[in-house]
């Protein structure tokens, strides 16, 4: 007598659960949901998370987007692809977010984008990758626009622009500031440096050739692996090669060890130029016991007003959100503002394709210049729109030495600095 009742109850519960949760597509009213995914044990992701939270808070203070509140859903991928896939589904299929921001290593971004492409026809949404470097994200858009059109990449640059734009800037720096024509190239053995090592077919030759065409002379080049700890042999070789500057296309290697060993090697008088990463963060001085003195690096974490937004952003982030800005925080913050403007332009979130078109058109004042995305390839507009100033560590602080408009100090050779 009791049992059947019990089973009926169970059945009802099951049915309830089963039928529940099938909400409609992202609601055209109510809060605008944005999903954030990152490996919350990695400083970059943490800082990006803080930046995203900050952006959302500011938007809500300013009355939200089109009067609708913005809601940020933060999820932790633990840096595992299966988890990443799982969470992406959760965000898109259950929380019905309008946009997913993956602020993590590129393999996560790529994995997420694949799942996104699977879901997109049924669950229209926008996908942003704000830390993943390399080309795999926008290459997808380039190769199959229809399938991947919902994907946008915001990073300081992509290898095309590295080769086409930044290489030129670097060569200016070397020739005009450092006054040398001999370059030693050090690549880290990762995917994102491959176009720079091997060149992009149809777009540009490898970095070495680009430099040659700019009148520089590459006297030495090598690759280092991520788990490498001993760099002395490289510096010995560099010193022997008589290079005038060491151009390090590295972002993920153990930069503390790298710099410390550089500062105590025969190459210590040859200026070190690092493309990005840890050495560009304020704590770098402390971490290296001041051995970073004289190192040049492309860093966005320097207090120089590129736009009116820059200084407030950094202060707010460090004071109220207790994380230093690291690579990834700026891009995430700017991405969300670009997204906001695009929604406002599109006049709502009802039609995803209208939104995508707006995202391709939008241009918004950002922390590092102007945020906006290439209307065909969906990576953010490069220099001079989006600027990563080149700074040099001088006696404990980062001084911008390039580009001209933001320059606050002159280049000083490491030898002089050491005195």
């Amino acid at each position: 007598m009791r049992k059947p009742l019990f089973w009926v109850g169970v059945l009802l519960v099951v049915l309830g659960l089963a039928t529940g949760g099938w909400a409609a597509a992202p609601a055209a009213t109510g809060p605008i949901k944005i999903g954030f995914m990152g490996n919350l044990s990695a400083p970059s992701s943490l800082s990006a998370k803080a930046a995203a939270t900050m952006a959302v808070d500011e938007m809500n203070k300013a009355g939200g987007i089109l009067g609708r509140p913005v809601q940020l859903i933060v999820e932790d991928t633990k840096g595992e692809i299966p988890k990443c896939v799982e969470i992406y589904k959760k965000l898109v299929m259950n929380d019905r977010v309008l946009a997913v921001v993956i602020a993590e290593k590129v393999e996560m971004g790529v994995a997420g984008m694949e799942i996104g492409a699977e879901l997109f026809p049924e669950y229209p949404h926008i996908f942003f990758s704000t830390i993943g470097s390399g080309d795999d994200i926008w290459h997808r858009v380039r190769d199959n626009y229809k399938k991947y059109r919902f994907g946008f990449q915001t990073y300081y640059s992509t290898s095309t622009n590295y080769l086409k734009i930044l290489a030129g800037l670097n060569s200016e720096v070397y020739k005009d500031l450092i006054k040398t024509k001999k370059v030693a190239l050090i690549f880290e053995d990762m995917e994102w440096t491959k176009p720079l090592r091997k060149g992009l077919p149809g777009v540009s030759g490898p970095l070495a050739e680009v430099y040659k065409s700019k009148g520089l002379q590459v006297v030495y080049d090598t690759t280092v692996s991520l788990d490498q700890k001993m760099f002395n042999p490289i510096f010995e070789a560099v010193a022997k090669s008589g290079a005038g500057v060491i151009d390090c296309v590295v972002g993920y290697i153990d930069q503390a060890a790298f710099i410390k060993q550089w500062a105590q090697s025969s190459a210590r008088d040859i200026p070190l130029y690092i493309w990005g990463g840890l050495a560009g963060m304020p704590p770098a001085w402390k971490m290296t016991e001041g051995k970073v003195n004289g190192v040049m690096i492309g860093s966005s974490m320097v207090r120089v007003a590129i736009t009116p937004k820059t200084i407030p952003f950094m202060d707010n982030l460090t004071n109220n959100y207790k994380v230093g800005p690291i690579f990834g925080s700026h891009t995430t913050y700017d991405t969300l503002y670009g997204f906001k403007k695009a929604i406002e332009k599109a006049g709502g979130t009802g039609n995803i394709d209208a939104l995508i078109t707006q995202l391709e058109k939008v241009e918004e004042v950002a922390v590092l210049g102007t945020i906006g995305w290439d209307d065909r390839l969906h990576f953010n507009l490069p220099y001079p729109k989006y600027i990563t100033p080149i700074v040099q560590w001088q006696k404990g602080e980062m001084k911008v030495i390039f580009p001209k408009p933001y320059k606050v100090a002159d280049y000083v050779s490491p030898a002089d600095l050491r005195k």
Binding site: I81, P82, E114, D189
Partner: protein
């Protein structure tokens, strides 16, 4: 011509004068039936939460890696610390063949079996050469070497990005159907592995494996051809693990060595084996589920979960019944089951 005859308590299969008997014990059927039914009905509950479904799918895959590992530990009498090597090999084989030569999943499936089999066969002599701990160490190093290779030959393995965009196993019109189907596929895969391993453990082979696990030399003295069994027990589970890699490739459709080859992944699998019940086939399933669920629910507490998760695992290992893990909680052994030990330091 195979003749089947049903006796009171067993099925007897005869083929010429070859004879095999499967003992049927309905008294032991209840709980497995309940468990399997529950697993098959589970989607009804979580159907509308695809991420949970995915989580359980992943858990199934973990179990599907842990079960062959348990079998391997039993048969080779050594603890393999690098089962993920074959996950990597299988995954990359499937992905590369599918991407570059457009092989269909069914073809890549065969390819994975062949490749994993050959490589495992080449490596298998270490099971005789290396003593216990050394074997564990060699197997520990191999995947790391492979990981380094995926970076060095970035043109092929695409380093940290990994291979992307392999053709999916299934393609229904509604993605949620796909995920449902993947859940069932993974479940079936896992149960299949369990069934096969269980059959092996309860067969003549199983008895010999138990003997090897107990004491190789005495087993030899009893006429057991230890070396041959060891090779079999190294190669076969390796192939099974490779197939899991193939499955991952064609369901997640991205495969990067950096996620599957490092130590962390192995630790997870090994801990699944230990928590579930040391080297005990069935334990792998509750172990995998428990650990996946614990990990997922811990994510809620924020960044601190990274050090809380290992702590929880430590507690699990310390406070579950010594050696028997969750399975030991479930029931005490029947005498005719053989309950193997893991000997890492074995000579």
């Amino acid at each position: 011509m195979v003749k089947l005859e049903l006796r009171r308590d067993r099925i007897v299969a005869r083929w010429g004068d070859w004879k095999s008997e499967w003992v049927i014990e309905p008294r032991y059927w209840r709980n497995p039936t309940i468990a399997i039914t529950a697993l098959f009905l589970l989607p009804l509950l979580v159907q509308s939460y695809p991420h949970i479904l995915t989580m359980i799918t992943t858990a199934n895959l973990y179990a599907a890696i842990a079960i062959p590992l348990a079998l391997q530990i039993l048969g080779t009498a050594r603890v393999n610390f690098g089962p993920q090597l074959y996950l990597g090999i299988g995954g990359y084989t499937a992905a590369l063949l599918n991407l570059h030569w457009g092989w269909s999943p069914s073809l890549t499936f065969l390819a994975v079996i062949v490749v994993c089999g050959v490589i495992a066969l080449l490596i298998s002599p270490t099971t005789w050469i290396a003593k216990g701990l050394y074997f564990s160490l060699i197997t520990l190093i191999l995947p790391l070497t492979f990981l380094d290779v995926t970076f060095i030959w970035g043109d092929i393995f695409r380093g940290e990005v990994g291979l992307v965009g392999m053709s999916p196993l299934l393609n229904f019109t509604k993605v949620s159907w796909n995920y449902l189907a993947y859940y069932y596929l993974s479940l079936i895969l896992m149960l299949l592995y369990l069934l096969v391993s269980d059959r092996i453990v309860r067969s003549r082979l199983g008895v010999n494996l138990a003997a090897i696990n107990e004491n190789e030399d005495v087993a030899r003295m009893m006429g057991v051809n230890v070396d041959r069994y060891k090779v079999v027990c190294y190669v076969f589970p390796s192939i099974l693990t490779g197939i899991v890699g193939w499955f991952i490739v064609h369901t997640f459709r991205t495969f990067a060595g950096v996620t599957y080859l490092p130590l962390e992944f192995m630790t997870k699998v090994l801990i699944i084996v230990i928590v579930g019940g040391r080297a005990f086939l069935y334990g792998a399933i509750p172990g995998a589920y428990l650990i996946s669920i614990v990990e997922d629910s811990l994510r809620a507490v924020g960044p601190s979960n990274y050090f809380l998760f290992p702590l929880v695992l430590i507690l699990l290992i310390v406070f579950l019944p010594r050696g028997e893990g969750l399975w030991g909680l479930y029931r005490k052994r029947r005498p005719r089951d053989y309950f193997p030990k893991l000997h890492v330091r074995r000579e």
